[in-house]
Point group: C2
Chain length 193, copies 2
Amino acid sequence: MQDTLFSFIAKYISLTDDEKHAILSLDLFRAVKKGTTLLKEGQNSKDSYFVLKGCIRTHYILDGEEKTTAFYTEMEALTPPCVISKTPSEYYISCVEDSILLISNSDMEVEVNRKFPKFDIMCRKLSEELLAKQRIDFDEFKTNSPEQRYLNLLQKRPDLIQRVPQHQLASFLGIKPQSLSRLRARILEKSKE
Amino acid sequence: MQDTLFSFIAKYISLTDDEKHAILSLDLFRAVKKGTTLLKEGQNSKDSYFVLKGCIRTHYILDGEEKTTAFYTEMEALTPPCVISKTPSEYYISCVEDSILLISNSDMEVEVNRKFPKFDIMCRKLSEELLAKQRIDFDEFKTNSPEQRYLNLLQKRPDLIQRVPQHQLASFLGIKPQSLSRLRARILEKSKE
DNA sequence: TCAAATCGTTCACTTAAGTTAAGAAACGAA
DNA sequence: TTCGTTTCTTAACTTAAGTGAACGATTTGA
């Protein structure tokens, strides 16, 4: 589990054993049960999440309907917009599977960054990289049809289609569950020919 | 023009007059004519852009068709994904209007960051903020219909609808130009009732 | 200035997604 | 295990976006 964390960090900075111990001593690992709500709409949270094992999702409730917009799995990090903007959260974060997460607090991060200035560098690199990746994802979403988006997902994150409920996948793809069912049937039909 | 830059920077860090002079002495302002291509697909660029006046856009060419995915206007910054990933660019950047830009090079930024460590802090804050903002934009795009997206744009960036060609706006909204025309006619029809 | 290209709109037609409803399958809690 | 809920799929119908084509209006450049 710790390996997952340190091989993630190693992508950005190199740590000494002392530094590794210091991080572990913060005791940030948390086991979270499937279905647990980590953040609710309207809350003022300062927590960021890193998925060591499992899957979490972000969703809105609009007109009483759940709209899932993102999934985070192993080796992925999430700092909710409300932490950055210091305003109440517009969305929910919940646990799709039993998961092990690293949950860090932004106040605590300020502290850690003072002790280990390296961390600031990592955070900068990480957020620049995530910004660029997300830009590409957004552009692909804009330029593709729902069917193309599904086929894309099948290529890039085939695990998600297995581990996540269809109705959550549907809104992640920007469509209704019924449309996803139909779209999958259509693809299957095509592949038979 | 310099005021635009310094009031932007002031949102993140405070600068002394000496620091301001140092920045100006780098001589990074560029006047760019409408239609100019700043970055081509396949190029390995290290340039980032900050719009002081005017408008630039990013677009792909897919199946021979132009797909515009983003616009950047006054007080907005753009670091292309290719600068971060150090791979050839997947898209084009071009000038929508005669513009005045600040164009900085990532090699040069490393230099500036060494002289003024403050800058690293600004870059981190900026990219974290942009990441959060873009996340919200992406989520709104996913959860809204084309018509809602257009009405949203009308609220949030009404200037864009005036200053940008319709066919570029259409792909920015994720639809075809004909659909945008139809959609606008539909809205007009509704408002008459 | 004039011809060519580009752009925005409209129309008729096709295709796919939204909506409403119903039933089967899977899941969870008592 | 069983009852009730949630989830997934299918179907019929509605609505909106994609497609191909045509038409002026504008812009561009030779």
